[in-house]
């Protein structure tokens, strides 16, 4: 009987950090073990963000909506930007929705380890949970923001087709990509605070390197193969395409985005775990 009780105890070995498959497997297992913390922290992230703010959840909409107004003002009134026959406002908003979600996840996720240094130096839990909760929170914002998109589509009389179901794999790719990038940046931010300083600039550049304010079709054909190496190109363009235009996704761009994202995540995870070992000594 005693032997049986013994078996339930998990033996944990802590050694100097090294890269090994076994170590990686252990980290994944530890992450599963801590899934409750992941849920609780993610829920907490969403709750706290809007506590004590008057507009509450409306803030999830305010950001993409304001950007949409600004871009509409510039690109449909000041100059004319092609929008594939769509009203520019809804054209921009449909792209800003996944974009702001991505941009928020990265900006807040990058700082997550540093801003939780009081926890990181006192308690152990798999640290990847911290940046990951920001990804979850941004997906929540995406969902809230989507309700406004629905209202806009009704207003403009846009009827979605069954192709809208493509949204599921597209958002999945977005999630994987956000996780990968946030893991890398958050770990680097602990060692080099320059990352955080460069974030606003980086996000600005990345925005214009993605088909948010313009359609993918506006990109010169000879640049196209390089352009879609940026996973956000395939994600943003296809999100807009399947939701608004009821058109089939640009499969090539989507597959490239998926390949890049799914290749990045394990590499990012190993990298993160390697830096995690001495994180508390530095932060």
């Amino acid at each position: 009987m005693l032997e049986l009780a013994e078996d339930k105890r998990r033996i944990k070995v802590i050694r100097a950090p090294s890269l090994s498959w076994r170590g990686l497997w252990q980290s994944v297992r530890a992450l599963v073990e801590y899934r409750d913390l992941f849920y609780t922290l993610s829920a907490h992230r969403v709750k706290v963000r809007y506590k004590q703010s008057m507009l509450g959840f409306a803030w999830a909409i305010v950001q993409p909506f304001t950007l949409m107004l600004i871009y509409t003002l510039i690109f449909s009134i000041v100059t004319r930007m092609p929008s594939e026959g769509m009203p520019y406002a809804v054209f921009a908003y449909a792209a800003l929705l996944p974009w702001t979600s991505f941009s928020n996840a990265l900006t807040s996720g990058t700082n997550s380890l540093v801003s939780h240094s009081h926890l990181v130096t006192k308690v152990y839990f798999p640290r990847e949970i911290l940046p990951a909760t920001y990804v979850v929170a941004s997906l929540f914002d995406l969902t809230v923001g989507a309700s406004v998109l629905a209202v806009m589509m009704i207003y403009y009389g846009i009827v979605p087709t069954l192709l809208i179901l493509w949204v599921v794999p597209i958002v999945a790719v977005l999630t994987v990509f956000m996780l990968g990038v946030t893991l890398v940046l958050s770990a680097l931010q602990v060692y080099f605070r320059d990352i955080g300083m460069a974030m606003p600039l980086l996000m600005q550049l990345w925005l214009f390197a993605s088909p948010v304010v313009y359609p993918l079709s506006a990109v010169p054909a000879r640049l196209y193969p390089f352009y879609v190496l940026n996973p956000m190109a395939g994600i943003v363009e296809n999100f807009r395409r399947v939701v608004l235009q009821g058109a089939a996704p640009d499969l090539y761009a989507l597959i490239v985005a998926a390949l890049v994202s799914f290749a990045l995540l394990p590499v990012a995870y190993v990298f993160f775990k390697r830096l995690e070992a001495t994180l508390a000594d530095v932060v």
Binding site: R10, V13, I14, R15, A16, D36, L41, H44, Y124, F125
Partner: protein, 398 residues
Amino acid sequence: MIDLRFDKVSKRYRIRHEDGTVSRNPLVRAWNRLRTRSEDFWALRDVSFEVKRGEALGIIGHNGAGKSTILKLLSNITTPTSGEITINGRLAALIEVGSGFHPELTGRENIFLSGSILGMKRREIEAKLDQIIEFAGVREFIDTPVKRYSSGMYVRLGFAIAAHLDADVLLLDEVLAVGDASFQAKCLQRVRELRESGKTIVFISHDLAAVERLCDRVLLMERGRLVAEGEPREVIAEYQRRAADLVALTGQKGAQKSGAEIVSVSFHNEKGDLVASLQTGDALIVKVKYRVYCKPVESSIEVFFYTPEGELTSQLFTDRSVFAEQSEGYVEFHCPELGLAPGMYFIDVTFDKDWKFRCATFRVDPGKSFRGRFYLPHTWRFVEKVEEAVTGKIFAES
């Protein structure tokens, strides 16, 4: 059954030396950062020990001896540079209570948040919610954001969560030093309960009295190395001896040959034997040897007893007297019944301008049992017949 094993564990920190000159030019600054050598600092060097199931291990040592590094390694906050740590079972650290709290969330929400940070499952927390709230004594405020809590409530809730973790191995830092006296007693009681239920405990503290009461075995750390290991009483005595050596050395440096100085202080029992500890209620003799140099001195000799927290507990002193030049002698303090409560005391001795700061330690063991702050020396007898009229407060008709 070994629950915890440290196998030749070392931990190195890199310390960067900056030369203090800070350039305004960011490029120069960046270059300097790259150029400066970093030095290695070994917080732990080849430390090996084991803790058996159900054992309570204490770790003592000066600040910087490596105690907190052991704690950080055990709780996996950081990893060793070399060596291996094996932990059998679930480990929970009761350190820095309340560090996982978010001020905007209510007490209840924070229990879930903090509990899950400490590694509890949601179901577990739900099952223990009532116990935790009860223990912390914050039931009326459980749905109030914790930013409205008093600092006492905050700390109590933090400890209550940690104390209800269902772990096999418990790490205790100076957590027992939180809250008021009654809550401290409650904490200590809880730790005893956990111990009796067979949990393995690692207790890291400066409170030697608490270490002695709680632990079966004690490790003494000094500059990253394990220097002594064994029975709490012996290891603590060794620690005190080393601490005294350290002070004696620094004391010599400061001795001035002009006025007067204290040569030694020693503690004796009734029979005159040298002792490092006595029990409450025992007779204590304190001998202070002094020396006066070229000028006569008018002063008193005083001996102070401080708690480890630096609170002055009591004092022995002579009347102000004149000491002739070129003289030497002893003063002997005689306490018929020691009134100090059990615990560690740090000793200061002063004579004229010489002040031996924390120059010795003295331990008081539980002897005469009493409640309160100190033992009031007393005798008692029953009186059969009361002949004199009873005065004072009268509670019942005679």
